[in-house]
């Protein structure tokens, strides 16, 4: 009797230990693993402060603090104001996939790079609302622009400029940080005024704000947009991704889901940019590293905040965090922008541009 009870106890103990060890030693979820090649002024970049990056087939465009850099055939070429660029600081980039033209939002206007020619639009020589162009996005013949004084839209066929501001939209502030234009919806990320939605069919504006106002508190999780101070928007597969300086949001048209460092794998609530891969996956560019969310799990890529050594952290659905050994990391923790080249990623940071090459 005693022996039988002991045996049962031993079996229970063994299975419990096995269970615990399984929890403790379980392999982290498989998240993409990259080898990062970093570009700085040491190997051809005109400036290490990279605001934006754009993949254009085999060519990579990098918007830096000192010109627009083009990486082609393993060489960098830089376009400057001498070439017609509106300003040396290139904050945003967009590709017109129909024509191959590249649009650059700068601190001094909007530039189009087409077949090597640069045409620049400023608030003095065109209908552009303001020279500080934080964001640009192309939909068909419309170039949608986010500026420090509202949104602008240039119709390439008619040459007409339409301006969007507090006088004709539900925009409270007019400091517009980001724009995402699609055939159905156009979204503006307005710093201090949440997100504006323009329905291309009905031509009606809508507004999404933080239900808690401008407080840095969340009274009810997933009640709405996480914060009014938005920094970027991305709209893919009918899902809106929004980054703010106080967390990030996902909106599927009915439900909001918010991400904060305290309840997600975000390395920081201060997010400069978000880019959706599809309805479930997105990349977050924060001031404390680059984060990838696959709909369940998170991965963070960065140089360690303490040692500076390459670091990759994976967080599973249960919140377990595992460090994955890596030998490379993005050039810096302060991540501004990201774009995709097949399975590879290109990352704009404040200390260089990084090419993340997917490892099998």
């Amino acid at each position: 009797m005693m022996k039988c009870a002991w045996n049962r106890f031993a079996m229970l103990l063994t299975s419990s230990l096995l269970g615990v060890s399984a929890l403790v030693f379980a392999a982290p979820p498989a998240m993409p693993h990259y080898r990062f090649e970093n570009f700085t002024t040491a190997n051809g970049l005109p400036n290490n402060h990279v605001y934006s990056v754009l993949v254009d087939g085999d060519r990579i465009w990098a918007g830096t603090d000192d010109g627009l850099a083009l990486y082609e055939n393993h060489h960098w070429k830089t376009f400057t104001t001498k070439d017609g660029l509106a300003h040396r600081a290139v904050l945003s980039l967009a590709l017109d996939k129909r024509t191959g033209d590249v649009w650059a939002g700068t601190m001094g206007g909007l530039s189009r790079i087409s077949g090597g020619r640069i045409d620049s639009y400023t608030q003095l020589n065109s209908g552009l609302s303001n020279d500080v162009v934080y964001g640009v996005s192309i939909d068909g013949e419309d170039v949608w622009v986010a500026t420090a004084a509202g949104g602008s839209r240039l119709n390439l066929r008619t040459g007409q400029w339409a301006l969007y501001n507090e006088r004709n939209t539900p925009m409270v502030e007019i400091w517009v940080y980001g724009v995402a234009a699609t055939p159905t919806k156009v979204y503006y990320a307005v710093w201090g005024s949440g997100v504006l939605e323009y329905d291309q069919k009905t031509k009606v504006w809508d507004h999404y704000g933080d239900p808690d106002g401008e407080n840095e508190i969340v009274l009810f999780k997933d009640q709405g947009l996480i914060h009014e101070i938005t920094s970027s928007v991305s709209y893919v597969d009918n899902v809106l991704w929004v980054s703010t300086y106080f967390g990030d949001s996902r909106y599927d048209g009915r439900y909001w889901h918010n991400f904060l460092t305290k309840d997600s794998g975000l390395p920081s609530d201060f997010t400069n940019n978000v880019k959706g891969v599809d309805a479930n996956r997105a990349w977050f560019c924060t001031d404390k590293g680059l984060a990838y969310y696959d709909g369940t799990n998170w991965a963070v890529y960065r140089p360690s905040l303490t040692t500076g050594k390459p670091e990759m952290m994976v967080r599973d659905a249960q919140g377990h965090v595992t460090e994955v050994p890596v030998t490379t990391a993005p050039a810096h923790n302060y991540v501004n922008n990201i774009d995709f080249q097949g399975e590879d990623i290109w990352v704009a940071t404040s200390k260089g541009l990084s090419h993340g090459i997917l490892q099998r």
Partner: protein, 635 residues
């Protein structure tokens, strides 16, 4: 019959014969003069002439298609006898055409209708008419028959269309005034030229481009810069693909035009490109000392690449170039060549006189002849390529009489009145429009009284002329002033001047592309109109009469024909009063202000109106200014 009577009869017969002979000779002489347009006898009717512009042979060589610019037709001729087979009516002001690779369809760009006529060459009928961009000027089809590329002169782009349905896929940003195109022989690249230069910094040399399109991807892959050039016309590439050539104008608008006697107005040049010239661009002159080749337009390279032919609308000649000698010269001499008036003697082998305003060319299938469309003679000159002589001249059926308007138009396009035949009106008013340049016209020193070139359509009732309003009427503007400052040469006779002025007054305003089809205004245009017509500023203060937009820019054409000081006088100007320019087609005519210092309409007010002298505008928000501009574009 007495001897006296016989004598009287002989005398009478002789006199009669003499009279008949005199009449016949006189008639022949009159006809000859009339054909040359020198004497009176011109009719006042508005006659419609064919005005052949471009030509194409059918792939089997049996037919010659002739694009007739004024009669809005394609004439189909028997390519052996040149007898007319059919007239096919197309849209208004057809400017370019192309055959599909199989020859079954002929596409015609109707530049004032903004349409493309699709002609079934089996039926010789228009099978379809497709909507197009703003002022479509030329069209080509890719080898696969999938895509059409259409160069649009006003919208400054190349539209990419589905060749079967006409559905527009996209538009590619070209240079300003995109007009002429040619494929590389393998069909992989499309080269586009432009009749206007791109906008550049004020008082800098003009810059043009040749836009290069990858036809498989339908994207712009390169823009070949053409420094100092404004006004590029036909472009051609040799059959082996190694040599490209474009015909163009090289204006000298930064120095006073009064220096015409020093060769100071234009260089008439070609740009060479391709492997034969080291894959760079080489600009070569056509002019020679005291002999100019005004307004090069058409260019063609013989199939064996031995000769190059260039039509010159102003000089009314075809220049024949020996390609081997040309390449040898370019390879053995140091550039630049453009201002060397001795250069062309090294490669020009003939200058063949043809008809009025020669334009497009076509080689006969055997290559033994090159045909030249003489737009203002309604003829085709057939040049024997072995002798470089005009072997025959084909008359395109049209009015027999020369009208006043036609003679005025011939006068406008010829360079024969200027010193050494250097320039004509059409040098600066390309296709009777403008050239997008600022000029230093008067002999008042370098860089003084710079003036922007203006559009000359719909001029009637807009006098006085000149930016300072100094010329009370067109006869003064086109007569003494032109003769003194531009031609430096003989005066027009009174009738010639009258006909020239009559022609200029007849120039209609082209369709406004910013207006909706029903001429109603968009919401933005309506708001802009309210600003244009307002009497009170945004602070409720009355706007002084002279500071309202519609006070000076009044009436249908937007001018009260008076002069005002709008605060735009420069240190280099002698006058501050500016004649109020009319607003017709203002959207087309950048740069702006009297000296062309404002690159865009916006700059008129964002930069050059700090004291509200050019209308009360500084109370406007940016979106209101945009609305005002949207309205102005409809004028």
């Amino acid at each position: 019959m007495s001897r006296a009577m016989q004598s009287r009869l002989r005398a009478a017969l002789g006199a009669g014969l003499a009279v008949v002979a005199a009449v016949l000779c006189g008639a022949a002489l009159w006809n000859a003069w009339a054909a040359d347009g020198v004497v009176t006898g011109r009719v006042g009717d508005r006659l419609t002439y064919p005005s052949p512009l471009e030509m194409l042979f059918s792939p089997d060589g049996a037919r010659l298609y002739v694009l007739c610019n004024d009669s809005d037709e394609v004439r189909v001729l028997n390519a052996s006898t040149y007898a007319e087979i059919k007239k096919i009516a197309v849209g208004h002001k057809p400017r370019g055409f192309t055959l599909s690779p199989d020859g079954k369809r002929l596409f015609v760009t109707n530049s004032w209708d903004d349409t493309l006529s699709v002609i079934d060459t089996g039926l010789l009928e228009v099978a379809a008419t497709w909507p197009e961009g703003a002022e479509p000027s030329s069209v080509v089809e890719d080898r696969e028959g999938k895509r059409l590329f259409v160069a649009n002169r006003i919208s400054n782009d190349v539209a990419v269309l589905n060749a079967q349905t006409g559905a527009e896929e996209k538009r590619l940003a070209a240079g300003r005034g995109a007009s002429y195109m040619t494929f590389s022989p393998d069909g992989r690249r499309l080269y586009v030229t432009h009749v206007y230069p791109n906008l550049t910094e004020h008082r800098t040399a003009p810059e043009s481009e040749m836009t290069v399109i990858d036809t498989a991807r339908a994207v712009v892959v390169d823009r070949i810069p053409q420094h100092g050039i404004a006004g590029v016309f036909h472009v051609a590439i040799s059959a082996d693909g190694r040599l490209g050539v474009a015909a163009e104008l090289h204006p000298k608008n930064l120095v006073p035009l009064a220096h015409l006697e020093h060769g100071g107005a234009f260089e008439d040049t070609l740009t060479l490109f391709g492997a034969d010239v080291g894959n760079r661009t080489v600009e070569i002159p056509l002019d020679e000392l005291e002999r100019y080749v005004a307004r090069p337009f058409g260019v063609a390279i013989s199939p064996d690449k031995s000769r190059m032919y260039v039509t010159s609308g102003g000089s009314e000649i075809v220049t024949v170039i020996d390609v081997r000698r040309l390449l040898n010269y370019v390879r053995t001499h140091r550039a630049p060549f453009v201002q060397d008036l001795s250069a062309s003697a090294n490669y020009v082998v003939a200058r063949v006189a043809v008809g009025r305003d020669p334009r497009g060319m076509a080689f006969t299938p055997d290559g033994h002849s090159v045909l030249v469309a003489n737009r203002l003679s309604d003829t085709i000159s057939v040049i024997d390529t072995r002798t470089n002589r005009v072997a025959s001249t084909i008359q395109i059926a049209g009015p027999k009489q020369l009208s006043v308007l036609r003679y005025g138009e011939q006068t406008f396009y010829t360079a024969r009145y200027s010193f050494q035949g250097q320039i004509g009106c059409a040098n600066c008013h390309i296709d009777s429009t403008f050239d997008g340049l600022e000029w230093d016209l008067e002999p008042d020193g370098f860089g003084r009284n710079i003036v922007d070139n203006r559009l000359i359509e719909d001029l009637k009732g807009t006098d006085p002329y000149k930016w300072n309003g100094g010329n009370p009427n067109l006869p003064t503007e086109c007569g003494p002033r032109t003769e003194l400052y531009f031609w430096r040469s003989e005066n027009y006779d009174d009738l010639t001047l009258t006909d020239l002025v009559t022609y200029m007054r007849s120039l209609e305003s082209r369709p406004n592309r910013w207006k909706l089809p029903g001429y109603e205004l968009t919401a933005a245009q309506e708001r802009g109109k309210e600003i244009f017509e307002r009497k009170v500023d945004k602070f409720g203060q009355p706007i002084a009469l002279k500071n309202r937009c519609n006070y000076c820019h009044s009436g249908l054409k937007g001018t009260d024909q008076k002069s005002f000081d709008v605060g735009t006088k420069r240190a280099t100007d002698d006058y501050s009063l500016i004649d109020t320019p009319q607003l017709r087609s203002i959207a087309l005519t950048a740069p702006y202000l009297h000296d062309g210092s404002a690159a865009t309409l916006e700059e008129i007010w964002t930069i050059y109106n700090p004291e509200d002298k050019h209308g009360r505008t500084n109370d406007l928000t940016k979106d209101e200014l945009n609305d005002l501009i949207e309205y102005l574009r409809t004028r």
